[in-house]
Symmetry: C2
Subunit: 408 residues, 2 copies
C-alpha cells in the first residue's frame, strides 16, 4: 500500500505542517528563551475555579447529563453567558445567534466550509493569522489583500476574484491586537471595511480571541456591533464574530463561539452536527460556571500581568535593538511584530538564534499568503517574566546587531 498520495483529495496538497507547532517542541528545552508560542501562561489559569466546577457537576444530580451527548448549538447555560458577554460588547443578540465551537479555530474551519468553494476568494490582511489560512486552505480559496488603511476600490477586488473563477465570499480580519501584529483596527477603518464588504455583498469574519486582553486605551466596538447598528439588528448583519475562552480563561477546554445572524448560525449548526456532533457538554457546563464566577476578576488579574510583560518587552526592545529595526506597540493581546532591515531573513536569523543566542520567535513569512514578509518576525511576551524578557531581548538584540554589522 504505497499509493496514499494518489488517494488523497486535491485539497491535501495545500495542507502543510505549521512552523509554529514545530517550534512549540522547543518549549521542552529549558535553556531556550521562547518568544515563539502564542499561548497564554498556564501558571495563570484559574485551576481552582475549574476544579470546583467539575466537582460540583460530577457530584451533582446532572452528572449523567453532563457526560451525555448534547445539542449541537451548545449548552443553554454557556450560550446565555455568551449572549450577555456579547451584549456588554454592544451586540444585541439571543441564544439563536450563538454557536458554541471547540475553540475559535473550529469556528474558522466551519466558516471556510460554509462559504468557500474552490476558486472563491477570501480577503485577508498581509500578514494574517496563520491558523486562519490553514483552516481556509482546506476549501481551496484564493486570497486577496485586505488593507484596512488603504483598500482598493471594490470593483477592483471583485474583478480579480472573477478572474480566479469565483467571487469574494468574505473579508477576514482580527481587529483587536491581531495575531501576529498586535495591531488594532481603528474605528474609521472598521467603518470603511464594513462599507467595502457592503459594496462587495460579502460577509465579514471578525476573529477576536484577544478581545478581553486590553491593557491601554479605550475599547472599540466590535465590527459586529457597528454592523448591527447600521443594518438594523444582528439578523441583518453581514458580520460573523468569532470569540474564544482560550486566551481569557483556558484553552484546555477548547471552547469558543460564533455570534452571527440566526440564519447563518442554523447552517453552522448543521456543519457542527456532521463534524463532531457537539462540543463536550461537561466542559461547557464547567466553563459556564467559571465564567459566571471569575471572568471579570480573573481577566483583570491576568491583564495586569500581561501588561507588565508587554511593557518589559517594549522597554527591552528600546534598549537592545539597533537602528533599522522597528516594532509595533500593541494595546493588548500577546504579540509584538518586528520588522528587520530590508534583505535580512528572519528564518535564517532564527536558525542562528536558536543555535547561539538560544532565543526562539516565529519568522513572519508564514503569515503572508503571498510568501513575502521574509524580514518580519513575531515575538510573544505572554509566557515569560521580566528577567527572561530582558535577557532574551538583550541576546536577540546582540545577535541582530552583529548580523546587521557583518552585512555592512
Amino acid at each position: 500500500m504505497t499509493t496514499w498520495e494518489s488517494l488523497y483529495a486535491r485539497r491535501a496538497s495545500r495542507m502543510r505542517a505549521s512552523e509554529i507547532r514545530e517550534l512549540l517542541k522547543l518549549l521542552d528545552q529549558p535553556d531556550v528563551i521562547n518568544f515563539a508560542g502564542g499561548i497564554p501562561d498556564q501558571a495563570l489559569f484559574p485551576a481552582e475555579a475549574f476544579k470546583a466546577a467539575y466537582q460540583e457537576i460530577l457530584a451533582g444530580p446532572d452528572a449523567g447529563r453532563a457526560l451525555q451527548y448534547g445539542m449541537s448549538e451548545g449548552s443553554a447555560r454557556l450560550r446565555n453567558w455568551i449572549v450577555n458577554h456579547m451584549r456588554r460588547l454592544g451586540v444585541e443578540c439571543g441564544p439563536e445567534n450563538i454557536l458554541v465551537t471547540s475553540g475559535s479555530q473550529q469556528g474558522l474551519d466551519y466558516i471556510g466550509k460554509l462559504f468557500l468553494t474552490e476558486g472563491d476568494t477570501a480577503l485577508v490582511q498581509w500578514p494574517t493569522y496563520l491558523g486562519a489560512l490553514q483552516a481556509f486552505n482546506a476549501y481551496e480559496p484564493g486570497y486577496d489583500r485586505l488593507d484596512p488603511g488603504a483598500n482598493r476600490p471594490a470593483e477592483d477586488y471583485a474583478a480579480i476574484a472573477r478572474e480566479k473563477g469565483g467571487r469574494i465570499k468574505f473579508a477576514y480580519l482580527s481587529p483587536d491586537f491581531a495575531n501576529p501584529t498586535g495591531l488594532t483596527v481603528d474605528l474609521a477603518e472598521r467603518q470603511r471595511l464594513l462599507a467595502l464588504a457592503g459594496e462587495l455583498s460579502c460577509a465579514v469574519i471578525e476573529d477576536s480571541p484577544y478581545e478581553a486582553l486590553r491593557y491601554d486605551g479605550e475599547p472599540l466596538p466590535p465590527m459586529l456591533a457597528l454592523d448591527c447598528e447600521a443594518s438594523g439588528g444582528i439578523n441583518n448583519a453581514r458580520t460573523l464574530y468569532c470569540g474564544s475562552f482560550s486566551k481569557s480563561l483556558s484553552p484546555g477546554l477548547r471552547l469558543g463561539w460564533i455570534c452571527a445572524s440566526a440564519d447563518v448560525i442554523s447552517r453552522l449548526v448543521l456543519i457542527k452536527q456532521a463534524s463532531d456532533l457537539n462540543s463536550p457538554v461537561l466542559n461547557q457546563e464547567a466553563m459556564a460556571r467559571v465564567a459566571e464566577n471569575v471572568f471579570e476578576a480573573h481577566t483583570a488579574k491576568t491583564n495586569a500581568v500581561y501588561k507588565s510583560r508587554r511593557d518589559a518587552m517594549l522597554a527591552a526592545l528600546e534598549r537592545h535593538m539597533p537602528a533599522g529595526v522597528s516594532w509595533t506597540r500593541p494595546e493588548g493581546g500577546m504579540f509584538i511584530w518586528m520588522t528587520l532591515p530590508k534583505g535580512m531573513d528572519a528564518a535564517t536569523l532564527l536558525e542562528t538564534s536558536i543555535e547561539t543566542a538560544r532565543v526562539a520567535f516565529v519568522p513572519g513569512r508564514a503569515f503572508h499568503p503571498d510568501g513575502t514578509g521574509a524580514n518580519t518576525l513575531r515575538l510573544s511576551f505572554s509566557c515569560n517574566d521580566y528577567q527572561k524578557i530582558e535577557e532574551g531581548i538583550s541576546r536577540l538584540g546582540r545577535l541582530i546587531t552583529e548580523t546587521v554589522t557583518s552585512k555592512l
Copy 2:
C-alpha cells in the same frame, strides 16, 4: 443582508438537518417511549470515576498543563492506552499510528476531508450510518453500494466511479453491530471486502464505535487486524480504524481515535491542527485515567444491562409483531433493524405512532443514500428498562397490526 444563500459554498446544498437529532427533542416528553436515540444510557456512566479523575488532575501539579493547548496528535497517556487496546484487538501498532479525535464522528469528517474531492466515490452499505453520510457529504462525493455478502466485480465499481468523474477513494463500513442494522460482517466477508479494496486500490474505513459492546458470540478480528496480517504490518495496511469512548465510557468528553498507517496519521494530524488544534487535554487526561481504572469492569457491567435490554426487545418483538414484519438479531451494540411489509412507510408510521401510540423510532429511509428503505426503521434498546421495552413494543405492535389490517 438577504443574500446568504448566494454566499454559501456549493457543498452547503448537501447539508440537511438530521432526522435523528430532531427526534432527540422528544426525549423531553416523559410519556413518549423513545426507541429513537442511538445514545448510551446516562444512568450507567462511571460518573464517580470521572469525578475522581478530574479532581486528581486539577488538584495536582499538572493542572496548568491540562488546561493548556496540547499536541494535535493527542495526549501521550491516552494514546498509550489506545495502543494497548488496539493490541488486545490484534492490531500491532505504536503511538505514531494513533490520532485522538473529538469522537469517532470527527474521525469521519477528517477522513472525508483527506480523501474526497467532489465527484469521487465512496462505497457504503445500504443502509449505512447517517452521520457518515453527513460527514462525507461536505466533500461532495458520489456513493455506490457496498454489499458484504454480494459485491459486484471490482471493474464494475471502478467504471461507474470513472463515469462520475472521479475514483473510488474508500469503502466505508461498520463491521460490528452496525448503526443502524445491528448486523455484524462475518470473517469471510471481511476478507472478501479487503480483497475487493485491494483490487480497487482504495482505502477501507472501519468504523467501530460499538466494538466493546458484544453480548454473545465470539469476537471477530477487526478488518485492520486482518489487513495488518496480510500486508505485513500497520504501515502497509489500507484500513483506517475509527474507535470511540462514547459508547463504552461516556460520549460527553467527545473522545475517539483513528488507528492507521503512520503516513495517513501524519496527514490527519495536519487536518486536526487546522480544524481545532487539539482535543481538550483535560478530557484526554481524565479519560486515560478512567480507561486505565475501570474500562474492563465497567464495560462488563454495562454490557450485562444492555444484553438484558436487547433480549427483552427481541422477546417483545416475537410476542407483539404481526406476520410480515422482520427484524435483525444483533450480537451487540444498541440497535435492532426492522423491515415492515412492502408498501408500508415508516415515516408515516412514525407520525401516527407519536400521536397515538406515543412510541418513537427512526424511519430507515435517511440511512439509504439512494432514498430507498421506506419500509424500514431503527429501534434502539439502550436506554429503556424491561417494562418500557415491553410496553413500547406492545403498543408499536398493536399499531402496526392495525395498519397492516386496514390495508388488507
